[in-house]
């Protein structure tokens, strides 16, 4: 497979379309260079960047993906360092406290800010009190370049908690961002397999952290390890791995 995408590759080769940073998004496929009012609107996701000369360049190495709904294009890649993006759910640790904000470590270069009133039903008189070291499941409300990301622990449209908030007990496992994204898939294989044997609660943060809570420490450890091990396994290997782990317990 060639690593440089050309127009021909795009049309002829089925299978994954690998792009490297600097590769141009083929204009014919995306309908990008069609001028005028009939030109389709395209939406760019992570890994793609519009250049000054009206071309679109990949800025990450990965698989180029396209969705007909909304004509969306993005690059699916894997990395370990998290870069905040608005609307994503993340798991963070409170590292500092000021009058107006909590400082929360979500794995980005700068700690994120969480307003003390950004919780369901919080008022100046009645608001949750978090200690340093507390674990939070929250949503990124604002992520601008060169600024600290901002967080909230509620759904902005309804004002309800929607599962966001402090996570009590349990354990956090650190995984790659690609694996975290795959775990969010409701059809995720490893989670389905584990669910057949053990009951557990979990929260997956897009920043590569999963929170696992089950009735015993042994179960939690097993789940964490199974998830970590599953990253590069296919269906068959994954089933065997989970079976072995459960048997050993």
């Amino acid at each position: 497979m060639t690593s440089i995408t050309t127009d021909q590759d795009m049309e002829q080769t089925p299978g994954p379309n690998i792009v490297l940073p600097g590769d141009l998004l083929p204009p014919t496929a995306s309908g990008l260079l069609e001028d005028g009012p009939t030109a389709p609107v395209i939406k760019l996701g992570p890994g793609l960047h519009p250049m000054d000369d009206d071309t679109i360049t990949a800025v990450k190495a990965g698989v180029l993906k396209h969705s007909e709904i909304g004509n969306r294009w993005w690059v699916e890649s894997n990395q370990r360092r998290y870069v905040a993006a608005a609307g994503e759910s993340v798991i963070g640790v409170v590292v500092g406290k000021t009058v107006e904000h909590y400082k929360v470590d979500i794995g980005t270069a700068q700690p994120a800010l969480l307003g003390v009133l950004a919780f369901e039903g919080a008022t100046k008189r009645n608001k949750p009190n978090l200690n340093i070291g507390a674990l939070l499941y929250c949503r990124i409300s604002l992520a601008n370049k060169d600024m600290e990301p901002e967080l909230e622990c509620m759904n902005p449209t309804t004002g309800k908690a929607d599962g966001y908030g402090e996570l009590k007990a349990g354990f956090v496992s650190k995984i790659s961002l690609g694996l975290a994204r795959r775990l969010l898939d409701p059809k995720s294989l490893v989670l389905r397999l584990l669910g057949q044997h053990i009951s557990f609660e979990m929260a997956t943060g897009m920043n590569g952290r999963v929170w696992i809570h089950s009735t015993s420490t042994k179960h939690t450890i097993l789940i964490c390890n199974a998830i970590k091990n599953s990253e590069y396994l296919d269906t068959q290997e994954c089933a065997t791995m989970v079976k072995n782990l459960v048997q050993k317990m």
């Binding site: 640790v93 590292v95 470590d105 700690p111 200690n131 070291g133 507390a134 674990l135 996570l167 009590k168 007990a169 349990g170 354990f171 956090v172 929170w211 015993s216 420490t217 042994k218 939690t220 450890i221 097993l222 964490c224 390890n225």
Partner: protein, 281 residues
């Protein structure tokens, strides 16, 4: 930037798990993580992987003039580099306390245990000696840098071959690798570090702590031994006080680990030597 402390949840879970007799990665208390040794194409280049901790060691040599008070002694220097590649907590050009501690420990384990015969590095007394330099690069930090670095350093020294020299009167000829087979360094013994971490006022003790375990631990101790059951160094910088019994217990555990690791290093060196012989034919 300091690496953020783990959350209260993680801390409490880890301690609870230890009380239940389990570790986060499914290991037993006295288990090392999987150790992998890989040799580079040149002599003296070794990459060590201990779980997710990765260390690269490279040995090089040059001919220099010895100190006047020790005319027959060669030099052995260690150079450690904790770059931001290993962890975001490390900065370029600024030594953290951890870095100083790690490099001191390695020097103590290797140099002061006289693992390498420095007298054997002499070419012409008072005129020319070999200076051996070991560069240790930390590529990924998941706890227990000392043990990984120590294994990398000694394996690299064992793997290294210096150019052969002939001395006729005052004339010194250094043969290139093509002219003559290079010669190995004379290593007296193989010191191996084993690090212990203590929890619950020293009630619980584990071997080869991961990064999270290092963050939560109450105290630690690094023991350096060789297969002949000789303690080369023992370092305990702060932390909780310990009983004599516990230290003796540590040595008993350590000697088992040292035997295992030494055997693995020897096996890896033998396999590499065979591979090189085949490729030369």
């Amino acid at each position: 930037m300091k690496e953020a402390d783990p959350s209260t949840n993680e801390r409490e879970f880890l301690l609870q798990a230890l009380k239940d007799g389990a570790r986060i990665d499914g290991r037993k208390f006295y288990d090392f993580r999987t150790l992998r040794l890989e040799f580079g194409s040149e002599y003296g280049a070794v990459e060590v992987q201990l779980g997710n901790t990765r260390v690269l060691a490279k040995v090089s040599c040059e001919v220099i003039r010895p100190y006047t008070d020790k005319p027959t002694e060669g030099f052995l220097t260690f150079n450690t580099e904790l770059s931001p590649m290993a962890s975001a907590a490390f900065e370029v050009g600024r030594q953290t306390d951890e870095e100083v501690l790690v490099s001191r420990l390695i020097e103590k384990a290797m140099k002061r245990s006289r693992a390498l015969d420095t007298e054997g590095l002499c070419i012409v007394a008072g005129e020319k000696v070999w200076s051996i330099r070991v560069d240790i690069h930390f590529l990924d930090h998941d706890g227990n840098l000392v043990d990984a670095a120590c294994i990398a350093a000694i394996t690299a020294l064992l793997h290294f071959r210096r150019p052969d020299v002939t001395v006729v009167g005052e004339d010194v000829t250094i043969h290139t690798l093509e002219q003559r087979n290079p010669v190995p360094l004379s290593v007296h013994h193989i010191p191996i570090c084993v690090t212990f971490a203590f929890f619950d006022n020293g009630e619980r003790m584990i071997v080869d702590p991961t990064f999270l375990e290092e963050q939560v631990k109450e105290g630690d101790m690094t023991m350096t031994l060789n297969v002949h059951k000789e303690v080369c160094a023992l370092s305990k910088a702060g932390g909780i006080p310990m009983d004599l019994d516990q230290i003796l217990q540590c040595t008993r555990v350590a000697i088992v680990k040292v035997t295992e690791i030494t055997a693995q290093i020897q096996a890896a060196l033998d396999t590499d030597a065979k591979k090189r012989q085949v490729s030369r034919k």
